[in-house]
Symmetry: C2
Subunit: 248 residues, 2 copies
Amino acid sequence: MAEHVMRQGSVSMTELAEIFEVSVMTVHRDLDLLESQGMVRKFRGGASAQASSVFESNIAYRKTAQTAEKEAIARHVVGLIEPGSSVMFDDSTTALAVARHLGEVTPLTVVTNFLEAIRLLAPVPGIRLMALGGEYYPTHDSFLGVACVDAVEAMNTDTVVVSTSAVSDRHAFHQEQEIVLVKRAMLASGTRCVLAVDHTKLDRVALHRVAPLEAFDIIVVDSRAPEEAIQRLRDRHHRVDVAEVTEP
Amino acid sequence: MAEHVMRQGSVSMTELAEIFEVSVMTVHRDLDLLESQGMVRKFRGGASAQASSVFESNIAYRKTAQTAEKEAIARHVVGLIEPGSSVMFDDSTTALAVARHLGEVTPLTVVTNFLEAIRLLAPVPGIRLMALGGEYYPTHDSFLGVACVDAVEAMNTDTVVVSTSAVSDRHAFHQEQEIVLVKRAMLASGTRCVLAVDHTKLDRVALHRVAPLEAFDIIVVDSRAPEEAIQRLRDRHHRVDVAEVTEP
DNA sequence: TAAATCTAACGCTAAAGAGTGTGAACTTGT
DNA sequence: ACAAGTTCACACTCTTTAGCGTTAGATTTA
């Protein structure tokens, strides 16, 4: 339904009800949900699409996108992590995919500001979990702000895994300032930094520069990235690992 | 079933299976659960009770105990909180009862290190949630340790609500050192400090002193506390509020 | 004011989840 | 080595929960 609103730009309630063969009440409920997630705007009689820049940074959307790629990247990243070491990661869905596999490399110390990852890892035996506090942001389901940056700066981990929404030949980018600050702090507090991005992020830019690519020791992309894009990254002396995507 | 193990001290598997009219398999599963929560010890053929001091500090036990009293205290404490102010509370089940009612006094800034409360409050509109990070302790379902103390010390809130496992005429007590350190830090960072304890905690002591009762501005107890115990607290110039318990 | 739209409440259905038992395979202690 | 005890995997039942529609009442717009 979200996709339809996106395509049309603006649709009426009754129209949506007919298309999806559901009652008007259901359309209301679903749109309320999408609106609370920042995916669409509601007005009397219908709903309109949000600017792409705002909903792309939204969890509900990010979770469903490029799952196969993220899964492949996650498996590769987990292979880079040694049992007994410490890992820090941010509030990206790619990192969440990594978190799902961390139970395989125990014992491990895990540090994150991502509430969903905390929920996921809290009951896992063999994982010493450290949460980064801060102000809770519902749109990201994570803790950000000054308190979080301070908490990051008080720590040091063997491996830091971050993902950003855009990567050019020279820099990693992200739209939101609060998140940029946290990611930067994380990069500064990791012995080894891994940038994990799927191919849709390559050759793009966003509002804020997070860091130059030199700040990362390893860049992991999925195998659906164009060969020449990978080559271009490698040309600038980066170690670029390609994770093989298996599923459709 | 836990109660039966407590009373008997030590019971065999088959005995438990007969008493509760369930299969031995189920007994195994339930005891595994209780053991993982630290309520009992398992050995080949049966299970034995834990020392009371260890299981009393355990969430699974604390959650089921004195719910009516905690509910009454919680309602009273919420009445002390003004909309628009900030509240910090610890990882006590009493505080959790308070958290359940915080949606009624929005807008509000809430600070806690208790994961269950974070889960509970994250989706509540009108609540600005700040999490205190730190090392995750499964037995308390909260974040403790140096990182947590540092995070607390970096903040200041209008009201601090804490509960302790024992209260004498002069001091508040708790068994665990990590928790004591966090509670102390909280007391130091609140403009107004509230001690919320049900009547079973009165006239008791535990291993560590948390703070003298003078450190608290208000002490809230439930109406099942003996009158003379309340009077004794009041004699020492404390403001003691009594929350009326309604349910059985 | 009338028509349209929105919200809240209730009950229904289908899917998900928790809890349990059975039998086979494995472990431990005597 | 054998018996008692334990664990695992699977299937079954029961409870819980999420999602949808209908109706009735409130709100908004023309």
